[in-house]
Structures are given as structure tokens and as C-alpha cells.
């Protein structure tokens, strides 16, 4: 090792240069005030280390930048700490530089021959500000995006060069992928090269010209004693300062992690970027000028200030370094400083007051996060795109908020917001918080979802277009979302495919892409219908009774089960079997008439719903000629039908039935004692009314002839005679005696039959 170092020294002289650098003598009076330059350098080194580590994981594209920052924050060990260190070091380096510059200014250390050290120092300040402006955009969160948009807009306001500069930085018309890459390269490469060159120049110049002895005029520096060295005397002070600075950085980083707002959303017009507090004086300056002169505040004055700062050593040529002897310079400097500080203080007044939440409202805020309200509602930006942003819309009425929470549909029939039935105290807290939300409220920090939302969910119009993604690969939605996730919205807003014809066609979709259905519906959803009518191998044997069962119990959107079948099948598909084949119940030997298993019994016992699964309701009537089963009030209505056509009743009923007998046991009032003699004249309706009790053949029993005689009796009775073997006059005589004499005497026959 020693030999290697000796060889290096022989070849390059680096070792002794290194040694000479650290052992350089320092003048008396160099003390604690002189450590800020070194602390700035240390902070710069910290920024390089942490920035370098971050660069290993950062991806400068809009679709991945935010995800990679989240990855750093949540997945990497010490990732959050490193990012916070980078953030806080970047915050602290500006005040450190300013303290350093002020110290140099008040000590008069920039004077001959050290003018260029001052100039490089000012350039370094500008470079660091450049770092800040470019680094700001990199996390690609809301603040980064909108801050960048606003700054580039301000830059555009600069006359002549503004438009071109902004367009160059943006890399086009809009802030996007090209902008982010440009800012990234500026931040990690271009500015780093510049800062390296400037720091080298700055430090080597200090080394060459020595540290300014405080209070000594320019031409008497040679007389100052140099009793101490950089190492170890002054480095000890620097080390103490560095440890204090480090303690501050570590404490800040551990307690206040670097903020990360919601992912940049170019569509989110509700987001209000607030300027950081250290640039407020610039905003105040801009506000002094009318809008067409804005560039004077935003560009001309700051530029003049920078030029003034650069020219300080060339303007103040007074060789004195004692503050008392350079009152003009110090007063000017102090006034400018006070103006800037004053403007900043004034600017801070215009900052929105931070939210102050009561304990109840805080509890509500927690609920807001727990209930995932943020996934639909933003608060002045952030949040989901579904519901209205709660930061907008002015003061809310607590009672209305409460009623909307309980039943959003009553407020807006088309809402997709679920109803929340909360315990009273939780509800009160949430209502109090929602009412407290105003234009200055901020989205509470939202825990990252696991796994994080894929990039597609941040695309423009994702909400509108998600259905296409679902169609492409519905299973991938199911990886994160529970089946009922969709229904949270879709219970009120069904997918456009689910139109009036959907029931008819859903089978094809379900068979081809079952995962499509599964992306919204749980597996047992199909069962709610198909449990009863699962088309498995048993289905063919059972479908009749299943249909009957279903038809009795369930209704589907007012449809009976047979109508349900026709959603998929046509009536012809039933006829394919049923034109010849019959359901099992119909196959008993005498289904039509059997008193035990016949259709009447079945229909009476089970109701006609099962019949209706195949037959139209009018089917019964086509045979029965009567409304079947008998409608209500039939008891009082049936005599009418019975009188007109008792045969209809007799198809099923025997008049000796008990049912009939209960009413009809007594003879009707018309049957007086001499009714037997009188009855021919009393039969007014061709005997139909008699048949109600006596049956169709009651007349035959006595008369042995069709009674009353049918219409063609003239011819028919001759045939009857022939059939019974009565021929000729005797035949007529016999017939008359045997059959007709009951009613007619012989003269009646003689009207036609000549004796």
C-alpha cells in the first residue's frame, strides 16, 4: 500500500498536493463563521450520494416515474429515509449558501484578489436553484406536474426569449414525457457537470489565494499571522458543524418524510399549486405590476438582482474590510435583504391558512380515508374522478350531507354512490369533516393501495374506457378487485351490454368468456337462477318438474319460466321432443280421464302453473269449453253454463257427485206432482235443463227413443223402424204401439201413414 502511494506520488505528485491542501495555513481570526462554505459543500456531497442512490431506482417516464418513487418510498429498505435526506438537504442548501454569501459580504471577503471566487459562488447559487427547479418535477406527483406547468407559464411571460426558452425546456407544446426526460437530464447530468466545474474552480481559487483574514484591508493581508492549519484545527470546527447539520438532516428526514402527493393528473383542474414559501417574495414582486408588465417582476427585477450580485466585487472597490468603514455597501445590502424578507413575510399572509380540524373533524377525516371516500371524491384535487370534488361547492348543510350519506339515491337517482349506514357518532364525525372542507382544505394522506394501481388507471378517460380493458382481460381485474367491486357502481348503472335483450344472449357470452361475468358477479350469481335449472346431464329428465317448480316459485322480471326458456330456446326446440313425446306425468295410461292420476286431478292438486309451462292458459278451454280451473264466483255463475250446455259439466262431473248433491239433492220446484204428465210441455230448452240432473240419456230410459226427437226425425224414425225389423203396416202398428203411443195416438201416424 505504502509502495503504491509512493509510486503514485512519484508519478503524479497527487499525495503531496493532497497533503498541502489540508495543511494550508489559515490566518488568525478564521473561526466558526467560516464553516458554512464547507457545510454547503458537504450538503452538496450528501445530495450527490442520496441522488445517486435514488437514480438507481428512478425511472424518468410519466407512466413510471411516480410508481418508481412510490417503490422507493414503500418497498426499499431505507428508501424513504434516503429520499427524505435528499429532500431536506435540497431545502437546507439554499439557506446555507445564503448564510455563506452574507458572511462573505459582511466580511468583505470578495475583495481583490478574490472577485472571481465571489462570481463563481453566485453562479453556484444559481445552479443550485436550477437543481431545485428541475428536481421539483421529477416525482411526477400533482405538485410536481402543476408546479412545472405554472413555472413554464411564468417563463413564457418573459419578452423575446421567454416563449422559446419555455418551449425548449418543455420539449414541445405540453408538459409530458419529453419535459420529464429533459428535466431529469438537466438535473442529474447537465447541472452536475456545471456544479462540479464551478465547485472545483471555487475551492481551488480559495486554496490559491488563501482565506481572507477578517477585518484586514486589502493591501495589508501579508502582515497577518497564520497560526492554524486547515487540518485539523479548522476541519474540527467544520466536523462539529457537519455533525450538527447531519443531526438536523436526520431528525428532519425521520420525522418529516419527503411529501408525495397523488400522482400527476393533467385532467385534474381542481388542483391548486401553492408556491413554496421561499419564493413568495417573487410572487409578491410580480403582484406589484399590472399583468402586461408582469415580466418586470418575474424576470427583469430578479435578473437585475442577479447581475447586481455578480457585480458586487466590481462595484465596491473600497479596500477596507472593517464593516464600520464600508457603511454604504453594507446599508445597501441590508436594505435589499430586508426588502426581500419583508416581501416574503407579506407573501406568507396570502398563503391559505392551514386547515385546523377539531378532534371530531379529525376523526371524520380518518373515516374519510378508512371508508375510501377518496377513491371517488377529491379534496381540491387528488382523489378519484367519479364523484364531485368536495373542495368545490361552498359551505355544505350538515343535514343534507347526512341525508346524502344515508341514501344517496334519494338525492340523485342516477348516483353510483353506495349508501352508508354508520353508527351515529361516526356519522356525526364524518358529516362534521365534510362540512368543514373548504377551498383551502387538502387531501389527507392516503395509504398506498396494495398492489398499487397499474398505470392504465391513470390514463386519460380511464373511467370511461375501463370497459374495454375489462373486455380484453377481465380476469386481470379480479386479481385486485373483489367481484362486488364493480357492483358498487354497476348496481345502478349496468354495463351497456346488459340491455333489454341481454337475458336472451347472456348465455353465449357466459359460455365463451365466463371470466367476463366473474369480473362483476360472484360465482353463485348464476346459481340464483340456474340452481333450479342447471342444464346438466340430469336436466333433460327433470326439466319438466324443475320448470314447474320454478314457474310456481320464482318470477324473473315478471316472466314465467316458460318465457324464461324462450329467452334462449324457441318454442320449436320444445316441439322437437314434445310434438310426439309427452312429459312423464302425461304417460299414465289414461291421463285424460283417470280419476286418480288423470290430468284433472294433477291440475287440481298442483295448480295449473305446471301446465302453463307448456300449454297456453287457453289450452284447457279448448276442450273444456269453460274457463278452467273454474274462476272465482263459479258457484253462482255455473247454473247459466249448466243450463246452456250441461254436457260441458258432465265431461268431468257426474251429477251424483257429492259436490253437486250438496246443493242439488232436492228436486227443483218445477217438478210438481203431475210433472210426469206435464213434462213434455215444460221442456222448453230442448231438454237441456233436464240433463243437468238427469243426464243426457234420462229420456231414453222411459221413451226408448231420442227425446226430444232430433231435427231429421221424419227420415230417422223410418230407419229406426227398419233397424228394429218393423216393416209394412203391421210394422208401423207395432212400432206405434211399442214406441210412439206413449205420447202420440194413432191418428198422428195416420197423417202420413195411410192405413
Amino acid at each position: 500500500m505504502r509502495k503504491l502511494l509512493e509510486w503514485l506520488e512519484r508519478e503524479t505528485g497527487l499525495i503531496s498536493a493532497w497533503g498541502r491542501f489540508w495543511t494550508q495555513p489559515l490566518p488568525a481570526g478564521v473561526g466558526w463563521g467560516h464553516i458554512f462554505g464547507a457545510l454547503t459543500l458537504l450538503t452538496l456531497v450528501v445530495l450527490f450520494i442520496t441522488g445517486g442512490a435514488l437514480m438507481f431506482y428512478y425511472s424518468p417516464t410519466p407512466d413510471q416515474a411516480y410508481a418508481s418513487v412510490q417503490y422507493i418510498e414503500h418497498y426499499l429498505p431505507a428508501g424513504q429515509f434516503i429520499r427524505a435526506l435528499h429532500y431536506w438537504a435540497a431545502r437546507l442548501i439554499v439557506p446555507l449558501i445564503i448564510i455563506h454569501i452574507l458572511r462573505v459580504f459582511f466580511w468583505g471577503a470578495y475583495k481583490r484578489p478574490r472577485q472571481m471566487i465571489w462570481v463563481t459562488g453566485v453562479l453556484l447559487l444559481l445552479t443550485v436553484i436550477g437543481y431545485g427547479l428541475t428536481g421539483y418535477a421529477l416525482p411526477w406527483d400533482q405538485k410536481a406536474y402543476w408546479g412545472t406547468v405554472v413555472r413554464l407559464k411564468i417563463a413564457e411571460g418573459i419578452p423575446l426569449i421567454g416563449q422559446a426558452t419555455a418551449t425548449f425546456l418543455r420539449g414541445g407544446d405540453t408538459v409530458g414525457a419529453v419535459t420529464l426526460m429533459r428535466f431529469f437530464v438537466l438535473h442529474v447530468f447537465v447541472l452536475s457537470v456545471i456544479v462540479f466545474l464551478l465547485v472545483a474552480w471555487h475551492v481551488l481559487q480559495v486554496r490559491r489565494m488563501g482565506v481572507t483574514p477578517p477585518g484586514v484591508p486589502v493591501n495589508r493581508e501579508e502582515e497577518v499571522e497564520k497560526p492554524q492549519r486547515l487540518y485539523p484545527e479548522h476541519t474540527a470546527r467544520i466536523a462539529v458543524g457537519a455533525v450538527i447539520l447531519t443531526a438536523l438532516l436526520v431528525w428532519l428526514s425521520l420525522n418529516y418524510p419527503a411529501p408525495l402527493e397523488p400522482r400527476a393528473n393533467p385532467m385534474d383542474t381542481a388542483y391548486k399549486p401553492h408556491p413554496d414559501f421561499y419564493v413568495l417574495w417573487l410572487h409578491e414582486l410580480v403582484a406589484f405590476f399590472p399583468s402586461h408588465l408582469e415580466f418586470v417582476g418575474s424576470f427583469v427585477l430578479p435578473t437585475l438582482l442577479v447581475i447586481l450580485l455578480l457585480l458586487v466585487p466590481f462595484i465596491e472597490r473600497n479596500p477596507e474590510r472593517q464593516p464600520r468603514k464600508r457603511l454604504t455597501a453594507l446599508t445597501t445590502g441590508t436594505v435589499i435583504l430586508l426588502v426581500i424578507v419583508g416581501l416574503n413575510v407579506k407573501g406568507m399572509e396570502s398563503l391559505p391558512e392551514p386547515e385546523k380540524l377539531s378532534p371530531l373533524e379529525k376523526q371524520g377525516q380518518k373515516l374519510f380515508v378508512e371508508l375510501k371516500c377518496y377513491s371517488c371524491h377529491g379534496i381540491n384535487g387528488g382523489g378519484g374522478p367519479v364523484g364531485p370534488d368536495l373542495g368545490l361547492g361552498g359551505k355544505r348543510d350538515p343535514e343534507q350531507v347526512r341525508s346524502i350519506l344515508r341514501n344517496p339515491a334519494a338525492h340523485n337517482a342516477h348516483t353510483v354512490m353506495p349508501a352508508y349506514q354508520l353508527e351515529p357518532e361516526k356519522e356525526n364525525a364524518l358529516v362534521a369533516y365534510i362540512v368543514s372542507i373548504g377551498p383551502n382544505s387538502k387531501m389527507p394522506p392516503v395509504p398506498p393501495t396494495e398492489p398499487e394501481k397499474p398505470a392504465s388507471h391513470f390514463e386519460e378517460n380511464w373511467f370511461v374506457n375501463h370497459k374495454f380493458e375489462v373486455r380484453k382481460d377481465p380476469a386481470s381485474c379480479g386479481d385486485c378487485h373483489k367481484p362486488f367491486f364493480c357492483q358498487a357502481c354497476h348496481q345502478n348503472r349496468r354495463p351497456s351490454s346488459h340491455d333489454a335483450q341481454w337475458l336472451k344472449f347472456h348465455f353465449g357470452n357466459a359460455a365463451e368468456r365466463p371470466e367476463m361475468c366473474a369480473s362483476c358477479h360472484s360465482p353463485d350469481y348464476c346459481d340464483s337462477c340456474h340452481r333450479v335449472m342447471r342444464h346438466d346431464t340430469q336436466w333433460l329428465q327433470q326439466h319438466g318438474s324443475k320448470l314447474a317448480q320454478f314457474g310456481e316459485k320464482m318470477k324473473w322480471a315478471g316472466q314465467t319460466m316458460s318465457q324464461m326458456c324462450y329467452q334462449c330456446h324457441t318454442p320449436r326446440s320444445c316441439q322437437g321432443c314434445h310434438s310426439g313425446a309427452l312429459p312423464a306425468s302425461h304417460k299414465v295410461s289414461d291421463f285424460l280421464r283417470d280419476p286418480q292420476v288423470g290430468h284433472g286431478k294433477v291440475a287440481l292438486k298442483q295448480g295449473t302453473a305446471s301446465c302453463n309451462s307448456c300449454h297456453q292458459p287457453q289450452f284447457c278451454q279448448s276442450c273444456h269449453g269453460l274457463p278452467m280451473p273454474h274462476p272465482e264466483g263459479w258457484d253462482s255463475d255455473h247454473p247459466q253454463v249448466g243450463h246452456k250446455n250441461p254436457a260441458l259439466c258432465q265431461r268431468c262431473h257426474n251429477f251424483k257427485d257429492e259436490t253437486c248433491q250438496t246443493c242439488h239433492q232436492a228436486a227443483p220446484s218445477s217438478h210438481t206432482e203431475d210433472f210426469r204428465k206435464e213434462h213434455p210441455r215444460r221442456i222448453t230448452d230442448s231438454g237441456a235443463s233436464c240433463q243437468v240432473c238427469h243426464g243426457r240419456n234420462a229420456c231414453m230410459d222411459c221413451h226408448k227413443l231420442p227425446m226430444p226427437h232430433p231435427g231429421n226425425w221424419d227420415e230417422a224414425h223410418a230407419k229406426l223402424g227398419q233397424q228394429r225389423g218393423w216393416k209394412g203396416y203391421t210394422g208401423v202398428k207395432n212400432m206405434q204401439k211399442a214406441q210412439c203411443a206413449n205420447c202420440h195416438d194413432i191418428k198422428y201416424c195416420n197423417q202420413c201413414h195411410q192405413p
Partner: protein, 158 residues
Amino acid sequence: MEQRLTRREWLATFVKALTALLAFVYGIPALVMLIVPAFRRQKVPWVKVGNASEFTSGEPKAVTLSYQRRDGWVIRTVRSTVYVVSTSDGSLKVLSNICTHASCAVRWERDRKAFFCPCHAGYFDASGKVMEGPPPRPLPEFPHKVEGGVLYVRLESV
């Protein structure tokens, strides 16, 4: 003079110690952030295949799985196909559909009762063993578990 020297030595030690402390405070977290994640094994998740009862028919059944795999900060949806085979003793086996010879996708040939690789006519039997053709090894099997009647598989890279 001697006293002055000791002060200087003491200060030198002090500076060295503090420098070491600073290097430690800034260096260790940065190194941890770079080194540790590289050696962290990604947890292979159990992927749901379906109800275990669906696979008891005796025929190997192809199931296409879709799941999310984390690649650093990028989350990708990955699809792969596995064959679920029910063995004679009633237990299940989840086989890769990738032929061990040239990584073509095999398919179940019902007539031959074998997995057939169309690239070079390799045949595997229902348990994944090589029957004929060039494949050097049987079809890889994935670990699986049945929980509450649902079959899960862990698609470890094979």
C-alpha cells in the same frame, strides 16, 4: 510546544472520528437501499386456479391463469397455462404446459391419452412422464394446495 502537538493530535483523531461517523450515517442507508433489495427473493403468490371439484373428471384440464407480477416498480399482468390432472388416488397435480425439450406448448391428446408436443412430436403421459420423443425431463410440476375446496398453484419459475 509539546502541549500544542497533543492538541493537534487530539483534534486530528476527533476529525477522523466525526468523518467516519458522517460516512456511516450517509453511506450505510444508501448502500442498504442499493444492496438489500437485490438479494430479496420475490414472494411467489398463490394463484387461484378454480374449484378443486372441477378437475376430478380424470381428463387433464387446461387452465389459463392471469396474475400480476411485480417487476420493480412495474406491475405486469402475466398469463400462463397449466394442466390440472387428477391422479388415480384422487389427489391433484398441476403440470406446466411447456415442453422440456424446446419449450413449446404441449396439449392433451384425448385419443392417445397423452400430452403431445407439436414441435418435435414428444409425448408425455398424464402424470407428465416422458413416453416418447426428444424431451429430456418430465413436465415440471407446480406446487399446489387446496383450501376451502379451491385449488391454488404457485407458479415458481422452473
